[in-house]
């Protein structure tokens, strides 16, 4: 009994990984019952040392095999070079599964016992039934990891900047509340506390959530901050996303009331402010900024009170983007123009969309207007729809400024009659009639065509 007490005491004090008790267990299984405590603990220490030795040797094989995980084959090779017979029967492909045995009721103090299940294999069945599937042989693919120092964004490469741009990671989530919570979580991870606070304050002072009242001075201050403050770069992805989502929500609800119109106005103001801020590097987010701008511009049913103002400011934002970035992205202007032309000319579009497209074209520039109104016959398509006419004249004014003292075309004159005829051909009756009253303008417009 005294030995028993000693055992517990010794095992408590010696803190090696391999316990003296384990040595005693092994000794008992070999028929040695009276192993002295000192011997057992010394043996335990020694066993631990030898195990470390083998593992150190095995880790060399692991390292040279360019792996990070030690496998049973590494241990085998280590044993072989240490001139010890390897442990047969273990392979990296069939890992031993340890199962826990049922508790042993007679001896409560016994710890949990684990064992390796040794399945019985019926050779006949194996030979008859199981077909070995050859693993596919090794193959290779090549891709560009970097082209002149820039990593191309292709599926073979990992997605770029995963932590700076969370909007890229979850583009397809539909539920907006889920998105919001996700966004919040990401904000927490990446941004400093100050920036998080700033973001929260900024968004609530620009667009108070729920039914809070807007303090116009606060909003003005917030927009001014967006327009001029440096150091907002880390917030940019979130702000862009916030604007985009806000726009989509408002437009999606389709309410024609005053409040939603005002909201859209404010959101456009935010975009304008971001574009104006010279310290921001906005180019990577252009593809996210453009959709809300174009949506507002081309949406068919904007709140009537605000629609003109909304479309005008969206067009000016678009114009700003194009003037700033079309030099770096030569394909930007043609692409936007294509979208606008489609909106202008497609037969099933409403007047609102057409109007927006026209305003957009005005924003894009003279060339776009020429293409839209004259070449593609946009003016004809618009016809005399109310509200649109003003925009068309604006567009025509872009092509050629109207004269201050209009002199009407002399329809008796042959040349002038021809001009009037062509105007009718290109612009349709409604606009042609109006242009006839200003000879200079009409000529100028025609020269452009």
């Amino acid at each position: 009994m005294s030995t028993k007490q000693k055992t517990t005491k010794a095992s408590g004090s010696s803190t090696g990984l391999y316990k003296a008790d384990s040595v005693k267990d092994v000794a008992e299984s070999l028929g040695i019952t009276n192993l002295p405590e000192a011997v057992a603990s010394a043996l335990a220490s020694d066993v631990e040392y030898r195990v470390h030795q083998v593992i150190e040797e095995a880790s060399r094989f692991m390292r040279h095999a360019r792996r990070n995980t030690l496998t049973t084959s590494d241990i085998d090779r280590a044993l072989r070079v240490l001139n010890i017979e390897p442990l047969y029967g273990h392979s990296a492909y069939t890992t031993a599964v340890f199962r826990r045995a049922l508790p042993y009721p007679q001896l409560a103090s016994a710890g949990p016992v684990y064992f390796v299940e040794d399945e019985e294999i019926d050779f006949e069945r194996v030979l008859r039934e199981e077909k070995l599937v050859l693993p596919p042989s090794v193959r290779w693919t090549a891709h560009w990891l970097a082209v002149e120092g820039v990593q191309p964004l292709i599926p073979e490469n990992p997605p770029a900047v995963p932590r700076d741009d969370p909007s890229l990671t979850a583009p397809g989530t539909s539920a907006s509340d889920k998105r919001a919570s996700q966004q919040a979580a990401l904000v927490k991870q990446v941004l400093s506390r100050e920036l998080q606070l700033y973001y929260a304050r900024l968004t609530t002072s620009i667009l108070p959530s729920g039914s809070g009242t807007v303090d116009p001075t606060k909003r003005t201050a917030a927009l001014a901050s967006l327009r001029h403050d440096a150091g907002l770069q880390p917030l940019l992805p979130y702000l862009v996303r916030w604007v985009g989502e806000g726009t989509v929500n408002v437009l999606h609800n389709g309410t024609q009331d005053d409040a939603s119109g005002r909201t859209l106005e404010v959101l456009l103001d935010v975009i304008a402010a971001l574009l104006e801020n010279t310290t921001l590097f906005i180019e990577p987010y252009l593809h996210q900024i453009l959709p809300p701008v174009l949506s507002v511009l081309l949406h068919s049913s904007l709140p009537p009170m605000h629609s003109t103002h909304l479309r005008t400011s969206a067009a000016s934002a678009l114009a700003r983007i194009l003037t700033q970035y079309s030099a770096t992205y030569p394909s930007l202007a043609p692409r936007i123009m294509k979208t606008l032309l489609l909106a202008l000319l497609a037969p099933d579009r409403g007047p609102g969309t057409r109007l927006g497209a026209l305003r957009g074209l005005i924003g894009v520039g003279k060339e776009a207007v020429r293409k839209g109104i004259l070449d593609a016959g946009g003016a004809k398509a618009l016809g005399a729809e109310p509200g649109v006419a003003g925009a068309v004249f604006e567009a025509l004014a872009v092509l050629h400024p109207p004269s201050e003292h209009p002199v009407p075309l002399d329809l008796e004159d042959l040349d002038d009659a021809q001009i009037a005829e062509r105007l009718r051909e290109i612009l349709g009756d409604f606009f042609a009639d109006r242009l006839v009253s200003d000879a200079n303008w009409a000529r100028g417009v025609l020269e452009e065509s």
Binding site: S13, T15, Q53, R60, V138, T141, W144, G149, G231
Partner: protein, 786 residues
């Protein structure tokens, strides 16, 4: 009784395992037999020498360091009996002794006890109180931390060796639990810098382990070198003797008093016996890595040349003593140069390429000022005449040099990414990298290599085979195995013997262990596909494979242990292997026996590379050092100490001036071969570095490793840790610079130009084509477990 065997302290000991206690007893018995035999035969002189040797061995065995635990207990029992109950044998266990000693030390008859001990030495007995060690070490730590800021970096390196010796002392004298406690108390603070050694020490638990363990023996038998300024050394001495200086926060009676004195005495003993101080007269401004170069158990790592009587104590002294190396480009014979020039002129006439007329100067290797170029006589023996393939290779070399993509990393740092000009400069400075990803490799792929002309790729696998791919998709056809020799008259008849309709991939089977290294022969350069492939494997052989017949031609046996690495000489007749048996060897392809053995590393030689001019080879070893060897003389000519882990891979710069080594300490070191000094240390990898490659102009280094990323480094840049962490407000440069979150302790040095992560591909090989396109390869690790 365990008679201690003094293990061989010569650095060139190549026995893999130190003899165990039993073995030494065996040798003693054998000695006796030999003595008797000599006596019987009447060889007086021989007998006498042998007796002297044996007795000197036995003297050493009696030294207190190698006393066995049991013997000690016995000795102690004798003295401890006096105050305790005499005659009772309760002092068997170490715990008992410890308790007894502790009580004895505090008792008043301590002085009597010490006096009665007499000849054995009071110091030794006192050193056995484990509390002294704890106390002494704690005081040392607090003294170092309390010292002045300017001295603290100098003093810090002292802590580690003293920790090791205290721990080893405790284990050796059998205080297992005290050793454990000591270890647990103090190891955490040392863990970050010395984790490998500390882990190794933690596995030692019995006195016999210390006898057999290599690391422990090195600590015991070698002096640990520490750099210190004169004034710093004086301060240390002052503290050790008088306990002055520094502050002891919260220690009550400070450094004075009995306990403190005994603790210091214990430190002093280690300092006297096991440390060696390199006292410098001036306090040079120390960089953040300088301590790595000159601190540690250096004596066995530095090769000792025969000529000098005094052993070198620091690597710099050795490197300086060897003298200058011939690092210039290898010369080419006049005939070959003339022929190459002629061929180039003809080519340019055909192509109507006027620029080609002026390429002639490129044939001549350009010498760099301040570097000695070897002459033809210096080169390894090679055939006197050259072949057509040599001309084609040289011609292709010139064309490559002309068409090369210029990589100029120095433009990178100055270029501003936001302006168009800056962006263009950045593009010029960084390489294009093509990644070859292997799929369905079950155990990963230990090695992978590209031929110089990028027509072939070979990968070695753990399943003992090599797979060869033709990257152009052409079939790889060997020769038919049965044919009549006299039917072959010319190349066309030989070609008719080729196998028909092969696939562009082929399996080469022959090894009986994992294939760890592969190399294509460089003789045809980028002009033609290579003729041979070399492989090294865990079965201890290197094998030569013919790319004509697609069969194994020769197996080179010689290493008894796994061959970790192989590399061709640039002249392709010779090759070298590195093995677990601690040697690197030189072979020529036409002989199956070794030509030279490069022995001297005290652990595995993990990697080996030929210098571009073929006069030297560099080896990296598990003893944390890299060496440069003279190929012909077989002697070590440079030693590079500074890695804090195993040197896993290395690369020479093509201009022959620099060596880059990467280690398990996740650092890449750049060494200047001429002076043997470290140029800089580049950090940024977050896992082991597997492969390094220089661009053709030696201006850029590319590395790939287990962190699934390829990194580009500016060789010429100053490097060093970044001044301030990146500011929060701006996106860093262009889109190219997005690293994975590095661990908090990995500092990216400023010469890291770019990081290109892959999805899940550890980069096993990085390779620059002669025209500076970078190829990398690695096995994709599937996310699903087996």
């Amino acid at each position: 009784m365990s008679a201690a065997t003094p293990t061989a302290s010569t650095p060139d000991a190549s026995t893999p395992a130190p003899p165990s206690t039993e073995a030494s007893q065996g040798t003693l018995a054998a000695d006796r037999l030999v003595l008797e035999y000599l006596r019987a035969r009447g060889h007086k002189a021989a007998e006498q020498t042998l007796t002297e040797t044996i007795s000197s061995f036995e003297d050493k065995g009696k030294s207190p360091i190698t006393i066995s635990g049991e013997e000690l207990v016995k000795r102690l029992t004798v003295f401890a009996e006096k105050p305790a109950q005499p005659g009772e044998n309760t002092l068997k266990t170490t715990l008992g002794v410890q308790k007894e000693l502790a009580s004895a030390v505090n008792s008043s008859n301590l002085q009597n006890l010490i006096a009665s001990i007499g000849p054995v030495g009071a110091e030794e007995i006192l050193s056995l109180d484990p509390n002294d060690k704890q106390e002494g070490f704690r005081e040392l730590e607090s003294w170092v931390e309390g010292s002045l800021d300017i001295y603290r970096p100098e003093f810090r390196p002292i802590i580690f060796p003293i920790f090791c010796h205290f721990y080893l002392d405790l284990v050796q004298f059998g205080f297992k639990d005290a050793a454990q406690e000591f270890f647990e108390t103090f190891s955490p603070s040392l863990e970050p810098l010395h984790s490998t050694t500390i882990h190794r020490l933690s596995t030692l638990r019995l006195p016999s382990h210390i006898q057999s363990d290599e690391t422990a023996q090195r600590f015991r038998n070698e002096k640990y070198t520490i750099q210190m300024s004169r004034s710093g050394f004086a301060l240390l001495l002052g503290w050790l003797t008088e306990g002055v200086g520094g502050e002891a926060p919260g220690l009550g009676d400070g450094f004075f008093g009995e306990k403190g004195r005994r603790g210091r005495a214990a430190v002093m003993r280690v300092v006297n016996n096991h440390l060696r101080f390199d006292v410098a007269t001036t306090t040079a401004s120390k960089s953040f890595t300088s301590w790595e170069d000159n601190t540690g158990l250096l004596s066995s790592l530095i090769p000792q040349s025969n000529g000098t009587s005094t052993p070198f104590t620091n690597p710099q002294a050795f490197n300086d003593a060897v003298g200058e190396l011939k690092l210039g480009p290898a010369p080419i014979s006049d005939e070959l140069r003339a022929e190459t020039g002629k061929s180039l002129r003809e080519q340019s006439m055909v192509d109507r390429d006027l620029a080609g007329q002026y390429d002639n100067h490129l044939v001549r290797p350009t010498a760099i000022a301040g570097i000695i170029s070897p002459t033809i006589a210096d080169l390894l023996p090679h055939p006197p005449s050259f072949k057509a393939v040599d001309v084609r290779r040289e011609v292709e070399k010139v064309r490559d040099a002309r068409k090369r993509i210029r990589l100029d990393p120095s433009a990178h740092s100055s270029a501003d990414g936001n302006t168009p000009q800056g962006a263009a400069a950045r593009q010029r400075s960084l390489p294009s990298i093509c990644a070859y990803t292997l799929y369905d490799t079950h155990e990963g792929s230990p090695c992978c290599t590209f031929s110089q002309d990028t027509s072939l790729m070979a990968a070695g696998f753990e399943e003992s085979y090599i797979r060869l791919w033709n990257l152009k998709g052409e079939p790889l056809n060997g020769l038919q195995s049965e044919f009549q020799l006299n039917n072959i008259r010319d190349t066309s008849s030989l070609n008719s013997l080729r196998e028909k309709g092969g696939s562009p991939t082929r399996k080469l089977i022959g090894h009986s262990g994992p294939v760890y290294s592969l190399a294509f022969d460089p003789v045809s350069g980028s002009a033609a596909p290579p003729k041979y492939l070399l492989s090294g494997s865990a079965d201890g052989t290197a094998r030569l494979w013919s790319m004509d017949t697609m069969t194994n031609v020769v197996a080179y046996r010689g290493h008894q242990n796994p061959v970790w690495d192989v590399d061709w000489s640039p002249m392709s007749i010779y090759f070298t292997t590195a093995s677990r048996d601690r040697t690197a060897r030189l072979w020529s392809t036409d002989r199956t026996s070794t030509l030279r053995i490069y022995a001297g590393h005290s652990s595995d030689v993990d990697c080996v590379r030929f210098h571009p001019n073929s006069l030297y080879i560099a080896t990296g070893s598990s003893d944390w050092t890299a060496r440069l060897w003279d190929v012909q003389r077989g002697t070590s000519v440079r030693v590079f100490i500074g890695h804090q882990g195993i040197v896993s891979t290395l690369a020479f710069s093509p201009d022959g001036r620099y060596l880059a080594t990467a280690g398990e300490d996740l650092a890449i070191n750049l060494w200047d071969l001429g002076s043997g000094r470290r140029v800089k240390k580049m950090t940024g990898h977050t896992a082991s570095v597997y492969s390094l490659a220089f661009s053709a102009e030696s201006s850029m280094l590319v590395s790939g490793g287990a962190d699934w990323a390829v990194r580009c480094w500016d060789v010429k840049g100053a490097g060093g840790p970044p001044e301030v962490s990146r500011t929060n407000g701006t996106v860093s440069g262009s889109g190219s610079h997005h690293s994975k979150d590095p661990g908090p302790d990995v500092i990216e040095t400023t010469d890291l130009l770019a990081t290109f992560p892959t999805k899940r591909t550890p980069i096993v090989t990085v390779h620059f084509t002669p025209r500076n396109l970078c190829l990398v390869a690695g096995p994709y690790l599937s996310t699903t477990p087996r």
